[in-house]
C-alpha cells in the first residue's frame, strides 16, 4: 500500500504533493502503513481516505478507488452511523471506540448486516485543531453471528428438549429462528420420496409471503433446484428473476413472480444418504445470503429433525410401554421379576391376588418367603441351572400365599440381563395350576366312577334278563317283562340324570315308576312329605315300585277299573315308613311261589335300603310295608 501511495500523483488532490504534507500526516501515515491492524486515516476537511493493506478489503470493490476519496463518497451506505461519529470526534477532539457496531454495508449490491469493533482517534495539528481522524478496527460480523447462533441453539435445545409434540416444537423453532434472518418466510419441510412431495410442517411468515404449511410437489421450485437439493447442495438464490437455474425453466420465473418470491436460501438435510428434509428462508427482496445464514438454517434444520425423531420415538416407546404395561397388569397369569438374590423387583396385580397381598408389598420380598420349605432346594437348583445354561425353564413348585393357601405354580422363567449383558435376575410368568390339578384329579375319579357304574348297570341288566328269561316262562311274556323292567330302570336313570345323580325326591320316583299305570282315573294316590332319596336307594325303590305295579296290574287292584292303590309315607324318628295298600281288586291269596318280582321286593329292597319290607297278602288287597333308616337312603349331606 505504501508503494501505491508513493506512486500516486497527489499534487492535484487536496493532499498536495507528499513533500508538503504536514508532519502530523506523515507520522500518522507511517504508523498506519506499518500496522498489521486494519487502519485508515480520514484527512482534512473532506475526511479523505488513506489506509493500509489490512484495511483495503473493508470497502469491498470500492478499493482501490477509495484511496484519497472523501469518506462521504465512499460510505453512503453507512454514513448515517459513521458521519455523526466522525463529526463528534472532530468537534470534541476526543477519540471514541465502539464494539460490535452494526453497519449496513452494501458492498456487493445488496445491504449486508455487518458488525465492527473500531476506534476513531483525532489527529491534532500544530494549531491544536483536528486535522484528521485515525481509524483502527476490524469486522466482527462472524463473531456476532456465531454468538447469536450459539444463543439460538441454546434456546432451541432447551425448548426442544422438553417438547412433547413434534408439530408444536417445529413451529416454535422456526419462529425463534425467523428474526435472525432477512426473510419474510421461514419454514421446515419433510420430503416423502414415495409420493414426491415436500410437506411443510412448520412455517413462519410476516404476512408479506403466504403461509405454505402443507404438502407440495417436491419440485415446486423447479427441477434444477430440486436436483441440486437431492445432491445435498445448498441453494442460495440472490434474485429469482435473474438466476439461470430458474429462468432456464419455462414459466418458472412467472410462477416465482406470482408467489411474490424474489430470493431464497434452502438447506437440504441428508439422512442415510437421502434428501429427507429442507429448511428454507424466502424473501420478497433480493438477498445476498451469507455463510452465517446457511450455517444457521443447517443447524436449526438438524435440531428440528433430531427433536422430531426423538419425540416420535418417545411417543412410540410410550405407546409400546403403555401397551405392555396394560397386558401385564390385566394378565390372568402371574408376572414377576427377581434379582439374583431372588428378591422380587416387580410383579403384576395377578401376583398380588394369588398371594393375598397388595402387589406393591410383594416387591422387595424374597421369593423364598412364598415357597414351600420342601421346595427350596429344588427352586435354588433350577435358578442355578438357568444361570449356568441360560434359556427358558419351566417347572412346577409349591407356593404358599400370605393367607396360608398352598398352590402349585407352573413357572416359566427366563434370565434378565442389563445393558452390558450381565445377568441381573429372572423374568417369570407363573400360572396357578392348583385348580387344574384338582380338576384333573376329579375327572379321573369321575371317569373311574362312571366306568364302575356302567359295569354295575350292565350287571344289573344282566340280572334283569336272567330273572326275566327263566326256564318255563313263555318267551313272549318274558320278553315283555324284561322290556318293562328295563324301561323302569331307564326311567329311574333319567330322573337321576336330571338331578345330576345327586338323588331324587320320593314323590318324583313314585310318579316315574307308576307312570304307565296312573292313568285314566287316578287309580293310584300318593301322599307324603317331600323326601330326597340317594341314587342307589332310588334305583332300588323304583324297581320295586315297578314290580308292585306290574303285580297289581296282573293280579291286583289295577287289574280292574274299581281297584285303587294308595301309597302313603311318613318320616318319623329318622325312619321312613312307606305303605302300599291295594283295595277293590280281586281277592288276594297267598302265592305258592314268589316270582322274581315279589322276591326282589322283599329281599333286594330290604337289603338295599338297609331296612325291612313286609308283604301282607290280605284278601282285601295286597299290602306292602317298607321301613328304612333315613341315613341309609337319604343323600349324604355335603358340607
Amino acid at each position: 500500500m505504501g508503494e501505491r501511495i508513493r506512486a500516486r500523483d497527489w499534487s492535484d488532490t487536496p493532499f498536495g504533493p507528499p513533500a508538503d504534507w504536514p508532519q502530523s500526516l506523515r507520522s500518522t501515515l507511517s504508523t498506519c502503513l506499518r500496522s498489521s491492524i486494519p487502519t485508515a486515516i480520514y484527512w482534512g476537511e473532506e475526511l479523505r481516505l488513506l489506509y493500509n493493506d489490512a484495511w483495503a478489503p473493508i470497502p469491498g470493490p470500492r478499493h482501490p478507488g477509495a484511496l484519497g476519496a472523501p469518506a462521504r463518497e465512499i460510505w453512503p451506505d453507512i454514513w448515517e452511523v459513521l458521519g455523526p461519529q466522525l463529526a463528534h470526534v472532530r468537534e470534541t477532539r476526543e477519540g471514541l471506540a465502539v464494539n460490535e457496531q452494526m453497519l449496513p454495508m452494501q458492498r456487493y449490491g445488496a445491504p449486508e448486516e455487518t458488525y465492527w469493533d473500531y476506534s476513531l482517534t483525532p489527529i491534532v495539528g500544530e494549531d491544536g485543531l483536528v486535522v484528521g481522524i485515525l481509524n483502527q478496527g476490524q469486522e466482527v460480523t462472524n463473531r456476532v453471528f456465531q454468538r447469536r447462533r450459539e444463543q439460538l441453539l441454546l434456546d432451541l435445545d432447551s425448548m426442544l428438549r422438553v417438547a412433547d409434540h413434534a408439530g408444536k416444537a417445529m413451529q416454535q423453532a422456526v419462529e425463534r429462528l425467523a428474526p435472525q434472518l432477512p426473510a419474510e418466510r421461514v419454514g421446515y419441510g419433510v420430503i416423502d420420496d414415495a409420493v414426491e412431495t415436500i410437506t411443510v410442517e412448520a412455517c413462519w411468515t410476516d404476512g408479506t409471503l403466504a403461509d405454505v404449511t402443507g404438502s407440495h410437489p417436491v419440485a415446486i421450485f423447479g427441477e434444477a433446484l430440486h436436483r441440486s437439493l437431492r445432491e445435498g447442495e445448498v441453494i442460495s438464490v440472490f434474485d429469482c428473476a435473474e438466476d439461470e437455474r430458474i429462468t432456464g425453466e419455462p414459466g418458472l420465473r412467472d410462477r416465482y413472480r406470482a408467489m411474490g418470491l424474489r430470493s431464497g436460501l434452502v438447506v437440504p438435510l441428508i439422512r442415510d444418504g437421502r434428501y429427507s428434509a429442507a429448511m428454507f428462508a424466502h424473501s420478497a427482496e433480493p438477498h445476498r445470503w451469507t455463510d452465517n445464514q446457511v450455517a444457521l438454517l443447517q443447524t436449526v434444520g438438524e435440531r428440528i429433525w433430531q427433536a422430531a425423531a426423538r419425540i416420535r420415538t418417545e411417543a412410540r416407546l410410550r405407546e409400546s410401554e403403555r401397551h405392555h404395561r396394560l397386558i401385564v397388569e390385566t394378565a390372568q397369569d402371574i408376572v414377576f421379576s427377581t434379582d439374583l438374590e431372588q428378591i422380587v423387583t416387580a410383579c403384576n396385580p395377578a401376583a398380588g391376588a394369588a398371594l393375598c397381598l397388595p402387589h406393591e408389598e410383594i416387591v422387595g420380598r424374597a421369593v423364598v418367603e412364598f415357597l414351600d420349605p420342601a421346595d427350596l432346594d429344588y427352586a435354588a437348583g433350577m435358578l442355578r441351572q438357568k444361570i449356568d445354561d441360560g434359556g427358558t425353564t419351566r417347572y412346577e413348585i409349591t407356593v404358599i400365599s400370605a393367607g396360608g393357601e398352598r398352590m402349585r405354580w407352573e413357572i416359566n422363567s427366563t434370565l434378565a440381563y442389563d445393558l452390558e449383558g450381565q445377568v441381573i435376575g429372572i423374568h417369570a410368568i407363573a400360572r396357578d395350576m392348583t385348580e387344574r390339578h384338582a380338576f384333573d384329579q376329579r375327572q379321573k375319579l369321575l371317569i373311574n366312577e362312571l366306568n364302575h357304574r356302567v359295569k354295575n348297570t350292565l350287571a344289573l341288566v344282566q340280572s334283569l334278563a336272567m330273572q326275566s328269561f327263566k326256564p318255563g316262562v313263555d318267551p313272549d311274556a318274558a320278553r315283555e317283562i324284561f322290556q318293562t323292567r328295563l324301561g323302569a330302570l331307564a326311567a329311574a336313570h333319567d330322573l337321576l340324570t336330571r338331578e345330576h345323580w345327586e338323588g331324587a325326591t320320593l314323590g318324583e320316583l313314585i310318579a316315574a315308576a307308576t307312570d304307565n299305570h296312573i292313568g285314566d282315573d287316578g287309580q293310584i294316590e300318593a301322599t307324603g312329605p317331600a323326601l330326597r332319596i340317594a341314587p342307589r336307594a332310588a334305583v332300588s325303590l323304583a324297581m320295586a315300585l315297578h314290580e308292585l305295579c306290574t303285580n297289581a296290574a296282573k293280579y291286583g287292584a289295577l287289574s280292574g277299573a274299581e281297584g285303587r292303590i294308595s301309597i302313603a309315607w311318613q318320616v318319623e324318628d329318622g325312619m321312613l315308613r312307606l305303605g302300599w295298600r291295594e283295595q277293590g281288586g280281586p281277592e288276594v291269596s297267598q302265592p305258592d311261589s314268589r316270582g322274581f318280582g315279589l322276591g326282589m321286593i322283599e329281599r333286594a329292597l330290604a337289603s338295599d335300603l338297609a331296612g325291612e319290607v313286609v308283604m301282607d297278602f290280605d284278601p282285601a288287597g295286597l299290602r306292602c310295608h317298607i321301613e328304612a333308616p333315613l341315613d341309609a337312603i337319604a343323600p349324604e349331606t355335603k358340607s
Binding site: K455, L458, V461, Q462, S463, M466, Q467, S540, S607
Partner: protein
C-alpha cells in the same frame, strides 16, 4: 352237580342285591352253593368271623367302601376268594394282586372257572 356241598359253599360279598341274587342263581346252576350275601364291609367281616363257607367272591367296591379289609381277613383265615369288579384290575389292592379277578358283568361259566382256579 354231584359234588358234595362241603368245599362248594360260597359267600357272596356284593352291595347290589339284584346282582347278588343273580349270582346266587348262577352259582346254583354250576354246582356251587351260595350260603350268604354280605352287602357291606362290616357284614362281610362278620360273616368271615362266623365262617361256614369255603370260598368267597368279593365286590371290590361296597357302597363306596374298599373291600380290601375283607380280603385281608379271608387271606388271614386261609379262605380262598376272588374279586368281582366293574373297575378292572387297577383297583385291586397291591397285596392281593395274586387273587383271581372277574369283571362285571360275568357269566356263570367264567364265574365257575374263576372259583375253581381260586379253590385249587
Amino acid at each position: 352237580m354231584s359234588d358234595p356241598p362241603v368245599g362248594r359253599r360260597v359267600l357272596i360279598v356284593e352291595d347290589e342285591s339284584l346282582i347278588a341274587m343273580t349270582a346266587e342263581d348262577m352259582l346254583e346252576n354250576v354246582g356251587w352253593r351260595p350260603v350268604g350275601v354280605a352287602t357291606s364291609c362290616r357284614s362281610a367281616l362278620a360273616a368271615v368271623a362266623k365262617g361256614g363257607f369255603d370260598i368267597a367272591m368279593i365286590d371290590i367296591n361296597l357302597r363306596g367302601e374298599d373291600s380290601g379289609p375283607v380280603a385281608d381277613a379271608l387271606a388271614q383265615a386261609g379262605i380262598p376268594f376272588i374279586f368281582t369288579t366293574g373297575y378292572g384290575k387297577a383297583r385291586v389292592p397291591e397285596r392281593h394282586r395274586e387273587a383271581g379277578i372277574i369283571a362285571k358283568p360275568y357269566d356263570a361259566r367264567s364265574l365257575d372257572a374263576a372259583l375253581q382256579a381260586a379253590a385249587r
